[in-house]
């Protein structure tokens, strides 16, 4: 209990009248993926009758901490957030715990040693995504002879998905010594970054066989660079990406991308379920991995029409 003595709309008793108040601290709106994620949470909250307090941290950890503090101050029933970065949450999570507000992590993990600070973590496994990409490549190039030159378009330097997708991919391709990453540079998760980097790669390395992009957008940028260089994306140069947003799936269906590892942003319903359980005091698993799959061009054609994002 804090300084509010008037007991406004969202007192601790909020849960008893049936409505749950949830404070959700989003990373930002840095990509289409993230926007889909936000929308999913907002829509699910509405459907579940959850009173959602939403805030956008604009990719800054300090903003997110401020938002969480203000949720604690406002005595919400549950706090959910996608941490901007893994580390540095102990203090504010302790404050939440002291105020007896349960916390759910979404999409990205925190590295707190004290796992009692949050109830559960709902989200994808980035290393696994990288592995899936790598595994496909190992399988795909098993038949080909000789070295395979891979160029990698990394995400924003230092960002967790970038680090993990790189790591997972590298682990997987270690299985085949022919697979070699010849160049790797950051494209900042953006299309124009991907395009510019790819342009330079194409000039540096004449015989690129595979592009591995940490997200669809960079892959789409790379496609344009490859086409401008007079090569055929998907044939002359194979492309593997992560995310499976609509534009990426379209390119996959067109055969310009060869393989996409899904990273599902639609966590809203799962989150609301978990929140209801947590507020009701039920046990929840400590880790909930989102349902994610991979797509080949054929699969893409099938599901393309029904993709929401």
């Amino acid at each position: 209990g804090g300084g509010s003595d008037s007991g406004g709309g969202s007192d601790a008793g909020g849960a008893s009248d049936g409505t749950i108040t949830m404070g959700f601290a989003q990373v930002g709106a840095e990509s289409g993926w993230r926007t889909a994620n936000t929308k999913s949470v907002q829509e699910a909250a509405e459907a579940a009758g959850v009173d959602l307090k939403f805030s956008d941290a604009q990719q800054k950890q300090e903003n997110q901490i401020k938002a969480i503090r203000s949720y604690i101050q406002q005595q919400v029933d549950v706090i959910a957030f996608s941490p901007v970065v893994e580390s540095g949450w102990d203090t504010v999570l302790k404050e939440a715990k002291d105020a007896e507000i349960p916390v759910i992590l979404t999409d990205r993990a925190v590295d707190s040693a004290d796992t009692s600070l949050y109830k559960t973590f709902l989200g994808s496994d980035f290393i696994e995504e990288g592995k899936k990409a790598g595994d496909w490549l190992v399988e795909d190039s098993a038949s080909t002879e000789g070295p395979v030159n891979i160029v990698e378009l990394q995400g924003t330097t230092g960002a967790a998905p970038a680090i993990d997708r790189k790591e997972g991919f590298e682990t997987a391709i270690a299985a085949d010594p022919d697979l070699k990453i010849v160049q790797s540079q950051t494209g900042d998760f953006t299309r124009s970054g991907g395009k510019q980097v790819m342009e330079a790669f194409l000039k540096n390395t004449p015989d690129i066989d595979v592009v591995y992009a940490h997200n669809d957008d960079m892959g789409l940028g790379a496609i344009e660079a490859i086409e401008a260089a007079g090569k055929v994306p998907g044939k002359d140069i194979k492309i593997i990406t992560v995310d499976a947003v609509k534009d990426g799936m379209t390119a996959l269906a067109d055969g310009k991308i060869n393989f996409i590892v899904e990273c599902n942003p639609l966590l809203g319903e799962q989150l609301m379920d978990l929140a209801a359980k947590v507020v009701a005091g039920e046990e929840v698993p400590a880790r909930v991995v989102t349902e994610e799959t991979t797509f080949t061009p054929e699969q893409a054609k099938e599901v393309l029409a029904s993709r929401e994002y």
Partner: protein, 337 residues
């Protein structure tokens, strides 16, 4: 050749010029007044807003920004600018986290970080002064350099587990019934007090203002212009390092991407606090008020809680604009030139 003689000036002239002297405080005072007004509006709009802890949280959540704004005030008062502060904060955090991870003594770490920050600032100041390169560009290069060094130290984020840092992060200094601040707040306010003292009670501080009033005049008046200009960047570097330590207390980690764009927040806070970017006019207390204003804008938004991401940005921009316009309105009569 005869020239007219002067009769003693009428008395009211004395009063007029005194008033014009007071006008120097107007923008900063307007900031404080508007901050209070915003607080009142917030209290009227959102339940739970009107609480001492909401105000104290503004301090707790902005310790590093307060310290940065103090350093930035020194620089801007001389008519310069320091874009490197955000990156130096990140660098300080990385150094601290990496060294603590390697098992260093926390006090040795803090000392080293402060030293690094100060030296980094002094080096930029020296380049600005000796080679007469514009501060904007030197500190922009500083921004790249410090951020790049962060990555060189580690691309991953590093968690701080040192007991001293942890206790600083989680300690609460109780003030009154259920009100508390963090140790960082005390440090930040101490920095403000020291800066206030330095600016108003030392020759160095007055030279800072003099340089802002006219660099060549200050030089001709025989003031230590080159030394002061270099030192000012040193101070800003030192403040960035302190802010880095405070940020480490705040987040108990080091992260290469931390504090991006913080330099703009610091500059905005200083300017909102009534300091002229061309130098010569402004106060650290105004900058403190500026930080609080930026903080309360964010508090407004998290209390609102229904804005989608883009509306958040738009509303922040609109609130900033509304604030600047109101400030302008209150200080309209004042001619600073």
């Amino acid at each position: 050749m005869s020239v007219l003689t002067r009769t003693p000036a009428p008395l009211d002239r004395r009063r007029i010029s005194r008033l014009q002297g007071k006008a120097r405080y107007a923008p900063s005072l307007a900031t404080v007044g508007l901050f209070l007004a915003m607080f009142a509006v917030g209290a009227a709009m959102y339940p739970g807003f009107l609480s001492g802890q909401v105000f104290l949280n503004l301090l707790i959540d902005n310790t590093f920004l307060i310290v940065l704004a103090v350093g930035m005030t020194f620089v801007i008062l001389t008519g310069g600018i320091d874009l490197s502060v955000g990156s130096v904060v990140a660098l300080s955090m990385m150094i601290a986290a990496a060294l603590l991870q390697a098992g260093w003594n926390p006090f040795a770490v803090i000392l080293l970080v402060l030293l690094t920050g100060a030296v980094f600032g002094l080096a930029m100041g020296a380049v600005i002064q000796v080679f007469e390169i514009q501060p904007f560009i030197v500190t922009l290069a500083g921004l790249f350099l410090a951020r790049g060094l962060c990555y060189v130290i580690s691309v991953d984020s590093i968690t701080v587990t040192d007991p001293f840092f942890t206790s600083m992060a989680q300690a609460r200094i109780p003030l009154a019934d259920k009100l508390f601040v963090s140790p960082g707040v005390v440090i930040a306010l101490l920095v403000v007090a020291v800066a206030f003292y330095v600016l108003h009670q030392t020759r160095f501080g007055r030279t800072v203002y003099a340089i802002g009033g006219g660099e060549s005049s200050a030089l001709l008046m025989g003031l230590a212009v080159p030394r002061t200009k270099i030192l000012v960047y040193g101070i800003s570097g030192l403040c960035s390092a302190i802010a880095g330590i405070l940020f480490s207390f705040y987040s108990l980690s080091g992260y290469s991407l931390a504090a991006t764009g913080l330099e703009l927040d610091a500059i905005a806070a200083v300017v909102v606090g009534g300091t002229l970017l061309t130098g010569g006019y402004g106060y650290v207390l105004g900058s403190l008020a500026g930080v609080l204003v930026l903080g309360i804008v964010q508090t407004f938004i998290s209390y609102e809680g229904t804005l989608s991401s883009w509306w958040t940005r738009i509303v922040i921009g609109a609130l900033l604009l509304a604030f600047i316009l109101l400030q302008k309105l209150f200080t309209r009569k004042v001619r600073l030139t």
